[in-house]
């Protein structure tokens, strides 16, 4: 048994033993759980994939004369921000797109530029054009503002992603006879391909499936800088069926994360366009798992072959919210490049980059080993199965005139 405090002492003395979530697999195979748990202090995880419920808020500073953008409009490189805040605070969502984007009018739409790209441009240090309008008040008389802004001049630029790091996710396929365009990419007709999105054995919440060490307040690698877990993410659902190793077989836990955008790097925050679907942000996240006991290490040493997910039809079942599965596959099977569905061999593709996830876990490992990253104690746990917390569908009710 170790405590986070003891591990932090070892970090400060340069004696900490850190391995990635990939390295720990061989280590446990070689030495066994007990011996490995004695030796290893921290396991670093990583993930790098599209995460739509991401965004950033900015305080741009007050102009002369003052303007109250709150209740007005604000666009960054033509991409609309949310302005229902105070005078010069705005929030930009990763999936926002310019008003004149043709969207899916010419199907499938290209969605060339949006919120995710603006965030990447800002992090890259590029100037971004801000256009704002306001209704004007006695204390904030200005009604129009057009200026270039740069991240280095903003008072605050904070990445605040309300749902990231999905703990497991379905494999998407298309049973219809025409191509479809989804957030899991283009799906060829009649089981032409199968797309998934997870770092599998490197993914943070798959390596701590019952949230024994990862909690609210946990310090993390976020977009190349440091951030924190702010809360459970939206749609957090610990109630789904799990294997004996505690790993959910369906989409389950999620994280809300927050961090200083000014510290982050465009290498780990990438705006992407998904044909026929929209714009999003690929986010790099790494979470350290302190090896507090043997069970924590055993969970962290789980391999792709022990992590399962469901194959779901995105042409009909998913859009109609029909709970169904065309089968269960392991991440080892998915990573082999092909799986069998309805007796057909189907090629697989991953939206999440395993190599970048590995790079993130290595980067976090080096920060900890150098003493640049001290672990934090969670201030509260994420809701687990015992909490009763779950994810409900919308209950639509008629609106009476």
């Amino acid at each position: 048994m170790k405590t986070i405090k003891e591990i932090n002492e070892k970090i400060k003395k340069g004696q900490v033993v850190v391995v990635t979530a990939e390295e720990v697999i061989d280590l446990v195979r070689e030495k066994g759980v007990r011996k490995a748990a004695e030796e290893v202090d921290v396991v670093t995880t990583g993930t790098f994939g599209p995460m739509c419920s991401s965004g950033a808020y900015f305080n741009i500073g007050h102009s002369t004369p003052r303007i109250k953008i709150g209740g007005g409009t604000c666009k960054l490189n033509d991409v609309p921000c949310y302005t229902g805040l105070a005078a010069v605070d705005v929030f930009l969502g990763a999936t926002a797109i310019p008003d004149d984007d043709p969207r899916n009018k010419v199907y499938p739409g290209e969605f060339k530029y949006g919120g995710g790209h603006v965030i990447q441009d800002l992090v890259s240090g590029k100037d971004v054009r801000l256009e704002a309008t306001a209704y004007g008040t006695d204390c904030y008389p200005r009604k129009k503002l057009e200026t270039l802004i740069n991240i280095k001049d903003l008072n605050e630029a904070v990445l605040f992603n309300i749902r990231n790091c999905y703990q497991n996710y379905s494999v998407a396929v298309n049973l219809s006879n025409k191509p479809i365009y989804t957030y899991l990419g283009m799906l060829k007709p009649e089981l032409g391909n199968a797309n998934y999105c997870s770092a599998g054995q490197l993914s943070p919440l798959l390596k701590d499936p019952e949230y024994k060490t990862i909690g609210i307040g946990t310090k993390i690698f976020l977009g190349g800088g440091t951030g924190f877990i702010a809360w459970q993410g939206t749609q957090h659902n610990p109630q789904v069926p799990r294997k004996d190793n505690g790993i959910p077989q369906f989409g389950s836990g999620t994280l809300a994360v927050i961090g200083d955008l000014k510290q982050m790097k465009s290498r780990y925050l990438v705006g992407v366009s998904m044909a026929g679907y929209g714009v999003t942000l690929v986010v790099g996240i790494g979470v350290p798992i302190p090896v507090l006991n043997e069970q924590v290490l055993k969970n962290a040493a789980v391999q792709d072959k022990d992590i399962y997910t469901q194959i779901v039809d995105y042409s009909s079942d998913y859009p109609q919210r029909v709970a169904s599965s065309l089968g269960e596959v392991s991440y080892e099977q998915l990573k082999s490049g092909k799986i069998t569905i309805k007796n057909k061999e189907v090629p697989t593709g991953n939206l999440s980059s395993y190599s970048k996830a590995l790079e993130i876990s290595e980067e976090l490992k080096s920060w900890i080993k150098k003493g640049d990253f001290i672990l934090s104690e969670p201030v509260a746990p994420l809701p687990g199965k015992e909490s009763g917390y779950s994810f409900k569908p919308l209950k639509e009710r008629p609106v009476k005139p």
């Binding site: 366009s273 090629p347 697989t348 593709g349 939206l351």
Partner: protein, 73 residues
């Protein structure tokens, strides 16, 4: 021109290979269109259009400005 494009592709290849993919130059048309074949895991990768446009096309155009467009076959 073909040789310069190959050199540009050599810069991209390590990134593609890291995720089990690769790329093959098939044709360069007289009007500057580069035709590529995405191989390995790139061939069925849902992110390949992003890799092609934001990664490969960007680097080829930087190195060989006469290139107008990069398409995957």
């Amino acid at each position: 021109m073909r040789e310069r494009i190959e050199k540009a592709l050599d810069k991209v290849r390590p990134m593609l290979e890291a995720d089990g993919g690769n790329v093959e130059l098939v044709e360069v048309t007289p009007d500057g269109v580069v035709k590529l074949k995405l191989k390995g895991s790139c061939g069925c990768c849902p992110m390949s259009s992003m890799t092609l446009k934001m990664g490969i096309e960007k680097i080829i155009k930087q190195e060989v400005p006469e290139v107008k467009e990069v398409v995957a076959l």
